[in-house]
Each structure stands twice: as C-alpha cells, then as structure tokens.
C-alpha cells in the first residue's frame, strides 16, 4: 500500500469523536436505549464483564496461586465447599486432590479459556473478513473457489475440523513437541473452523456495497482496491461481523472447553475450564462433585451471558425488528 496521504479519505471517523459529546450521544443512541430497557441484557453484560475482569486479573483476585507448590497444603486436599460440613472459609468452593482452592483454579482456568476464545475469534475474524472482502470485490473464479471451499467446510462440524487439525499437528510435532505449541495449534484449529461465517457475511455485504455511489466515486478518483476495501467498504459491513463475533466467542469458549475435556486442547500444565472439568470428572464417583461442578457452572454462566449479549446485539442491530 502506498504511503501517499489521501485527503479525500474520510478520516473524519476519528476526528468526529468529540470526547465531551460522546457519552451524551451514547445515551441518546437506539442501541443504548434497547440495552437499558432489558434487565436481562444488562445483567448478562455485567456478568460477562466481571468474569472477564476477574479472569484477566486472576493473580490479584485469586486467594491462592494454584500453581505455586509452596502455597498448597496436601492436608487440605479434597475439602468440600464452605456450606457443606467439613468446609473451610479459606476455600469457599472446596479444594481438589492436591489441595488447590477450586475458586482460584476457576479464575486461572477462565483466564486461559477466555484468552483462547478471544484469540481464536480474532484469528477467524481477520481471516474471514479478508477472504470475504476479496471474494466479494474480486468476483469471478476467486469468488466461486472461496465460496465452494466455504460451502464444503460448512457441511462439516467445526469440532471435527478442529480435532483433525490438532491430530495432524500432533503427527507432525510428536506428542512432546506438540505440548509446547499446543496453544498456537488450538487457536489455529478453532480459528480455521470458524472463518466461514465471517467470509460469507462480509462477501454478501460487499456485493451490496460495491454497487453504491461512494464506492464508484472512490474507484473514479483512482484509489487502489485495497484502500477502497479496508477504508471505505469494511466500516460499513462491520455491524453483522460484530454480531457473529459475539456469538462465536461463546462457541469458541465451548469448543476450547470440549477439546480440552477430550484431552486434545491446552497442555495440562496450564489448565483451562475444560481441563478442570476433565480432571474433576475422575472424582465424580467418589462423591467429590465440587471439583467438576463449579468449573462447569463457571463455564456455563460465562457462555450463557455472552450468548445473551450476542442475541440482543443481533436483534438490536437488525433494522427489520425495530
């Protein structure tokens, strides 16, 4: 891309953001109105926000570092939650077989789940947007090739594709080498199985936008296609993309948890919520239900609130439903 300054390009998007009026404008917007009107959505937003915050700052929030051996006391292992007989206030949700505080492991686990979720959605989004823009703008054989691949991939479930990519990576790296790059492989696997939705949506919107006057004007003044695509068309197709991203964040977190539960996700040295559930599953029959159920509950609450947000965003941005 050329570094030539383009005065015609609408830089106004950033210039227009008056800090003083921003809050007022947000307050007046339709989106915020529909947000305020639904207590469930507000609660979902608050819960997602709190959980993400608590997970990000896990080392500060958690009462114990579950991976610091010095802080663990084997005498405190397999303690039930505080409201069950034998529970201690020191470990509100009980402890696992190594004396780890379940509450702390959940915070650390959620951190990894959310990290992988965001990273894979970001990866899928960038890949999907770029391919969708190219397919929609270029048309012709590029378009049909990309969309055929998308069709085919869409007929296979994401989890199967992710499993396969993981299996191939294990084949190439060996099980030991795989552990070192497990995070990368996982993000790649989930991202590659999710790009299609973005690509299809973006392509559809590009086909509509392509015929509009502002694009023709940009073409006439000789802007390079890359600039037209990313500066002019992309901002106009971002609405649906954001909706997909929100819903897919929930899906990505579920997929990560599932893969980790199956034992092919994150390495056991940095357990996510899925890994915690897998570990706890072994204790289900001996009556230590809290090792599984609390990480599971955390996962469901996180996914449910993100799903609720996604549902609301979809309806709020859909002009047909206004």
């Amino acid at each position: 891309m050329s570094a030539r300054p383009t005065p015609e390009a609408p830089e106004t998007g950033r210039a227009r953001a008056r800090p003083a009026g921003l809050l007022a404008r947000l307050d007046e917007s339709d989106l915020f109105y529909s947000f305020r009107r639904s207590p469930i959505v507000v609660a979902a937003a608050a819960i997602s926000f709190l959980m993400i915050l608590a997970a990000v700052f896990a080392p500060l929030v958690a009462p114990q570092d579950p991976f610091d051996m010095a802080q663990l006391d084997l005498l405190d292992s397999l303690l039930p939650p505080v409201w069950v007989e034998g529970g201690m206030w020191k470990y509100p949700l009980g402890t696992d077989d190594q004396g780890r505080d379940i509450f702390s492991t959940i915070l650390y686990g959620a951190r990894i789940s959310i990290l992988v979720g965001f990273a894979s959605v970001a990866f899928a989004m960038v890949l999907g947007i770029v391919l969708g823009l190219v397919a929609g703008y270029a048309g012709g054989w590029v378009d049909s090739l990309l969309m055929r691949i998308a069709d085919i991939q869409l007929s296979f479930p994401a989890i199967l594709i992710a499993l396969l990519i993981d299996g191939v990576a294990r084949g190439i790296m060996g099980n030991v080498g795989h552990e070192r790059i497990a995070f990368g492989v996982l993000i790649l696997a989930i991202g590659l199985s999710f790009w299609v939705q973005y690509a299809r949506t973006v392509r559809g919107s590009v086909l509509v936008e392509k015929g509009k006057e502002y694009v023709q004007a940009a073409q006439v003044i000789g802007l390079p296609p890359v600039l037209i695509l990313f500066r002019h068309i992309l901002p106009n197709v971002m609405g649906p993309v954001l909706v997909i991203a929100t819903i897919q964040l929930a899906l990505a977190v579920i997929t990560e948890a599932t893969l980790s539960f199956l034992g092919v996700g994150v390495p056991p040295t940095s357990p996510s919520l899925g890994t915690l559930i897998r570990i706890g599953n072994d204790y289900l029959f001996s009556g230590e239900w809290w090792i599984t159920i609390f990480p599971g509950a955390a996962l469901v609450i996180l996914v449910l609130s993100v799903n609720l947000l996604g549902d609301w965003l979809r309806d709020a941005l859909n002009p047909k439903l206004r």
Partner: protein, 326 residues
C-alpha cells in the same frame, strides 16, 4: 434436472477426492509407516523389503492411486495402537455409534417438533417462554457437561442408571446390538439423552422461527378468511410447509450427530467409533484417523447429496429456477 444431478454428483466426487488427498498425505508424510510397523531389531534389508512391498518406493501419484483403490475397499492397513486391521476395528465399533445416533435423533425429533410448534403458536405464553429460555440454556451447555450432570444425578446420586459402556449386547450376524437386552437399553438412556439435547435445542428454535415465518404468509391469512378452523390451519397448512426446511436441516444435522457422538462417547466410555477416533488423535494412530476421516466424509457427502436432491424434488420453485437458467 439431469444436469443438476450430474453437477451435484461431480461436486461430491471432487470433495471426496480432496478428502482422500488429505488422508493420503497424512499416511505418507506424518511419520514413517515402516517404522510404525516393525520392531527395533528389524534389519535395514527387511525394512527396505517391506518398503518395496508396501509400494512406498513408487512415484507419489502411483501411491495415491493405490491408496484410492484400497480406500474404495475400505482397506486402511493395521492400526498402530491396536495392532488390528482398521476395517475390523471400525466394523466392531460402528453398530454402537449408529444405534446411539439413531435413538438420540429420534428422541430429539419426537420432543423437539412439538415443543417448537407450541412455542410458535403460544408465543407470549408462560410455557413457551420457559421452553425458549431452556433452549438458550441448552445452547450454552456444552455436550460434555450435560453428560456429566446426567451422570452425577442419575448415576451417582440416584444410582438408577449405568454411566459407562454399552451393557450386555447381543450379536446378530456381526452386528452387536444393545436393543435386545434390558441392560443394554438401560445403558443407552443417558448417552442418548445427552446427544439428543444438543439437537433438540436446535430443532426447537428452527421450528419456531420457520413456523412464525409461515404464519405471517398470505395463504394462512386466506385460510383464516375462508373460515377454516384454527386447528386445521396450524396443523394441516402451516406445519406442512414448516417441515420442508426442517427436514433439510435435520438431515444435515445427522452428520454433526456423528461428530458430537465423539464427545458423548468419550464422556460415557461408549465403545463406538468416536471413542476410537479420539484415542487415535491422542495416540497419533494415523491409519485409524485416516479411515475415520474418509468414512465420515463419505457419510457427509452422501447425506448432503441426498438432502439436496430431496430438496430439489420437494420444492418446485428450485426446478423452475434451474429450468429458466438451463
């Protein structure tokens, strides 16, 4: 019509060829097949002889052709992990997965369709809202967690139902079925519910959306104007047209049921193909992975093909479009 079928068939062949190429590359380039088959004390000459016998010294294109021929007969060699022919392994596991998938799909349809229709007809009702909330929770509950909760409740706390394995099975001409023993049926309940819930949530939401769409159309208004009974309008006219897209989606879902069976089988230690596959992934058992991939791809391609052709047969509008183009 004939052109549509031919085009669709060609597309399926291309997909299978691509999948076969992936499976073949896995075989050929992930690890050395010879190393996997021989012991430590095998001499270099013996290894070379084996290499020659397996055709690994041929040009890659020839090898791919040989691979295709063997794949067509479902010959994928010996499993690295189980030391058994892959085709035998899969044949042993196939009945378990198919029985589980079929029962769960049936359950999902029998419960999901009435629930979906009800939520569409009584949109504002309390029960309808409860169903929709439940379905949202269902979407947010990962399959493996549903399984764990069911195990905890019915297996550990109430101790009513077995929580792992298939129970006693009866062998009928190489097909081991769990349908004929009380033990086998009991073992089937929890895994089938687990697998059904995931499909059910989708079916409920789909039926509701489609039904609402149909109820808004003109011909339903005309039905009302003609004074037909509400019951007749809903179940004779609206439901019929709702079911067309639903059949398609449910048909396509059948494929994902097999994929989600991997998770269910893993939770309940159900001895099906999914459990075999997940073990193959963790142990890098390439022949099993390749065979499973080819089999699943085949199932998917066939389902997609059948659904497309059925759709074409059921929906006259598509025929008109194709006729106008050709």
């Amino acid at each position: 019509m004939i052109w549509f079928v031919i085009k669709r068939l060609l597309q399926s062949v291309v997909v299978m060829a691509v999948v076969a190429l992936i499976a073949f590359s896995m075989f050929r380039y992930l690890g050395d097949p010879v190393n996997q088959m021989v012991g430590v004390e095998t001499s270099i000459e013996q290894r070379e002889a084996l290499r020659e016998r397996l055709g690994l010294n041929e040009p890659v294109a020839v090898q791919f052709w040989l691979f295709l021929q063997r794949a067509a007969q479902f010959e994928f060699g010996i499993s690295y992990q189980h030391r058994k022919a892959v085709s035998t392994l899969i044949a042993e596991r196939l009945p378990a997965t198919l029985e589980l998938s079929a029962v769960s799909a049936l359950m999902a349809l029998l419960v999901g369709i009435p629930m979906g229709v009800y939520t569409a007809l009584r949109r504002e009702g309390f029960l309808a809202r409860a169903f929709m909330t439940l379905s949202l929770i269902g979407v947010s509950l990962p399959t493996f967690l549903i399984g764990i909760l069911l195990i905890l409740f019915f297996g550990v706390m109430l101790q009513w139902l077995p929580t792992f394995g298939r129970g006693a099975t009866v062998d009928i001409g190489g097909w081991s079925t769990g349908f004929l023993t009380a033990d086998g049926l009991k073992a089937l309940i929890l895994p089938a519910i687990t697998l059904a819930i995931f499909q059910m949530t989708l079916i409920v939401r789909l039926i509701r959306a489609e039904m609402l769409e149909v109820l808004r159309t003109d011909y339903i208004k005309f039905c009302k104007a003609r004074g037909l009974k509400t019951r007749a309008i809903h179940f004779k006219h609206a439901l019929k047209n709702t079911l067309v897209p639903v059949i398609t989606i449910v048909g396509l879902q059948l494929g994902s049921v097999i994929a989600f069976a991997i998770i269910t089988e893993s939770v309940f230690q159900w001895p099906g193909m999914g459990l075999l596959f997940i073990q193959a992934v963790t142990e890098v058992d390439i022949p099993v992975m390749a065979a499973y991939l080819m089999l699943i791809a085949f199932v998917f391609v066939v389902i997609n093909l059948v659904v497309d052709l059925l759709y074409y047969a059921v929906d006259p509008r598509l025929r008109v479009q194709a006729g106008a183009k050709g």
